[in-house]
Amino acid sequence: MVQAQRPRIGVFVCECGRNIAATVDCDAVRDYAGTLDGVVCAVKNKYTCSEPGQREVQKWVREKGLDRVVIAACSPRLHEPTFRNCVKQVGLNPYLMEMANIREHCSWVHQGDPGGATCKAKDLVRSAVARAGFLEPQEEAEVKVTASALVIGGGIAGIQAALDLAHAGTKVILVEREPSIGGIMAQLDKTYPTMDCSI
């Protein structure tokens, strides 16, 4: 078995209202998380992503001197930026935050099996805690952004996007396959609900 260094991990189990709590026994997951190696505190929140939820995470980081945070909640594809930012505000490197997806990958897909879902949620937390022990701070590289935009398609949507951007001072390259812009809109006679011309 691989061994982590001695981290100070805080685990925050989100109920997400009833979204997680209706299927997963969040108290049991929190209690279990508290027994894991390296975990110095395990806390349950109603909504961890909410302002009070985030403040509580920050409070525990400060009070317990946490150097790793595990959020057991929704998909990192949804709230990873939220929680990275949350821990960053209290001086923790954002890459020292790990999420366990106990909503999209657990409570929502095992609604008929609360026992199995709770067992899985504990496993996901255990796995996230293990990984957290190996997380390292990372620095993001900044790259410059070319200050122009390409709009593909010169129908009403492409025209409007190009005009909005151009009016705001951005250089726009608008590419239309046909010999004229206009798209389907140009073929319409009148348009609803105002009954005026399309062009």
């Binding site: 496993d123 070319t146 709009v151 005009l163 073929q187």
Partner: protein, 602 residues
């Protein structure tokens, strides 16, 4: 439209196509092909002298074949740019024997038969995909007889017919006798909301378009009778209900139920609709009309695949492009720096297209305004102590982001700005010299350890790539698609990050089944890194079989971000395989692999 042509900040390339796009958020390079117009669009004044002498007559695509144009033409009078173009497939050419009349007629010498396609490259920070939708061709719906019967037309053909600039100058006439019909029927949901036609979704625009069309007819011909056959009327937007009431007020009848069949009276070429009158207890009635207008729906463009491939976009099950988040981020594509506007994302009307386009522009401005963007710290790092300069990492890198040269004793180095973080190099390196930051061997091994710390026989270790398979799992969750709770996902950015040693390590730890999942081949978010996944898994299957381990116990699946249903099915199927693996088989596997040297990073 004119503003677009005039605006100093807009470089308009019409008759042009994007051929390829490379790069990443803030730093895209697009290759554009400008097709030869054979007319200098800056010089052309659209005087029309060329058209008068062109001898070629061909159907007008703008008027959907209801009128004709010449080989040299302007698509419609208000076209932007206001310039003629030669359709070279139809043109007789500049052979003086054959033709060349237009060139002779053009006083400004705008016509250049030697013009060739040009390609050029542009650098941009963001891309807005506004490629639109196609219009359903109802020919395959045989019950309606479109193309068989002269007086069954589509709603788009009707637009041209009723337009003052159209082929009839706005007269609504039948195609067989050029008479104005006395009775007109609309049939709704043609090509929409039907699994039979493969388009189960609502096309959004057709109900209100028909309401509008009915009012236009009533404006021109107050005495024409109009019946609209519908399933449900969806007049949900601002001002829509008002318009519907106006239509009803003008005497337009809205009848629930779609006709099952249209037949044509051979003599009059009138159309007879067989319809079940639900208000009369389902009585079957035949109703006769002089013209039938099929309210056709919108469909994904047939060539969406090209755009999708260029920008590694995903599509929803209906074929339109997938947005980052249905509610919270509906104008961003999952590929960073790419935004969606209009019908490319889903069928929508002009108002919604304008709204979404404005939102997309705001998102672009948010990105470009900062002047710089931070890139996730997930790039690869090389430990020069361990590198033996074999060069395999550089060879497999989809971005050519690794420099290494044994002859010059140059150890591998990663060009950080070019590295996208797929982790393929870390999976390739035989010497453990490469670290995939934030997805290190030790991090992944620690997850495997934790997962199999108890009851390993009950768990399916699933490696899921961030962009497709993991997102597919999220989609299954959002859709509440139920499956057995055996799956344990380990997220990597790309399936190409999965080193075979991780899989062997899992089997050593007692895994009954291991699943590796990634984007479909051709859809990889790291160009084609997942081809390396395929190669690795195929090799590993052979290796496992030689050890007496069933190949079913290592599964490989391609699951896209929109395939929640497939994710669910795979999870159910793989769980069945898991159940077939006995404790004795797991023990035998552990024994067979006990001597395998497996490197997992620590």
């Amino acid at each position: 439209m004119m503003d677009v042509g005039r605006h100093p900040n807009i470089k308009l390339h019409t008759y042009s196509e994007v051929e390829s796009i490379t790069g990443f958020i803030g730093n895209f390079k697009a290759r554009i092909r400008r097709k030869a117009r054979f007319v200098d669009e800056k010089q052309c004044t659209a005087c029309g002298d060329c058209v008068k002498v062109c001898p070629v007559v061909t159907p007008s695509r703008f008027d959907i074949g209801l009128s004709t144009r010449r080989a040299i033409y302007i698509p419609f009078p208000q076209a932007v740019p206001a310039s003629y173009v030669i359709d070279m497939e139809k043109c007789l050419g500049n052979n003086p024997v054959a033709c060349g009349k237009c060139a002779a007629a053009c006083e400004k010498d705008c016509i250049d038969f030697d013009m060739r396609d040009e390609t050029f490259e542009v650098e941009v920070g963001a891309v807005v995909v506004a490629t639109g939708a196609g219009v359903v061709d109802p020919t395959h719906l045989e019950e309606y007889g479109y193309r068989r019967y002269a007086n069954v037309i589509t709603s788009l053909e009707f637009e041209r017919l009723v337009s003052a600039g159209g082929p009839t100058g706005g007269e609504i006439v039948r195609f067989n006798d050029f008479q104005t019909p006395r009775r007109i029927a609309f049939i709704q949901c043609v090509g929409s909301r039907s699994k039979k036609t493969g388009r189960p979704y609502c096309s959004n625009i057709c109900c209100m378009n028909t309401v509008k069309d009915s009012l236009l007819i009533k404006e021109h011909y107050p005495d024409v009778e109009i019946d609209v056959f519908y399933m449900d009327l969806r007049a949900f937007g601002k001002g829509f209900e008002d318009l519907l009431q106006r239509s009803r007020g003008r005497g337009v009848r809205y009848l629930r139920g779609l006709p099952g069949r249209i037949t044509e009276d051979p003599a009059s070429q009138d159309l007879v609709l067989r319809w079940e009158n639900q208000e009369e207890g389902g009585r079957v009635e035949d109703r006769s009309y002089g013209m039938v207008i099929l309210a056709v729906g919108l469909e994904p463009r047939k060539d969406n695949e090209r755009v999708r491939g260029m920008l590694t976009l995903s599509k929803t099950s209906d074929g339109f492009f997938l947005e980052s988040h249905n509610k919270l981020d509906p104008v961003s594509a999952p590929t960073r720096g790419v935004f969606l506007a209009g019908c490319a994302e889903s069928p929508k009307d002009i108002r919604d297209s304008v709204t979404q386009a404005g939102a997309a522009a705001a998102r672009v401005l948010r990105l470009l305004g900062s002047g710089k963007i931070s890139i996730e710290a997930v790039t690869a790092r090389v430990d020069p102590e361990k590198c033996n300069m074999c060069g395999l990492c550089a060879k497999g890198c989809p971005y050519n982001a690794i420099l290494v040269d044994k002859a010059k004793n140059l150890k591998a180095t990663v060009i950080e700005a070019a590295c996208a973080g797929c982790g393929n190099c870390a999976a390739t390196c035989m010497h453990g010299a490469i670290t995939a930051r934030h997805f290190t061997d030790a991090q992944i091994a620690s997850q495997i350890d934790a997962i199999f710390a108890d009851s390993p026989q009950e768990k399916v270790l699933t490696f899921a790539c961030n962009w497709c398979s993991y997102a597919g799992g999220d989609f299954a969750g959002v859709s509440r698609m139920q499956y057995p709770p055996s799956a344990r996902l380990v997220r990597t950015l790309c399936s190409a990050r999965v080193r075979p040693d991780f899989i062997l390590y899992a089997f050593q730890k007692g895994a009954p089944v291991v699943l590796v999942s990634g984007c479909h081949l051709g859809d990889c978010h790291y160009i084609k890194a997942n081809h390396h996944t395929l190669e690795r898994i195929e090799r590993l299957w052979g290796r496992l079989e030689r050890k007496g381990i069933r190949r079913e116990r290592l599964q490989l699946e391609w699951i896209s971000a929109a395939e929640g249903k497939k994710f669910q099915e795979v999870m159910c199927r793989v769980d069945e395989i898991r159940k077939s693996v006995t404790l004795a088989e797991i023990a035998a596997t552990q024994e067979a692999l006990s001597q395998e040297k497996v490197r997992v990073g620590v």
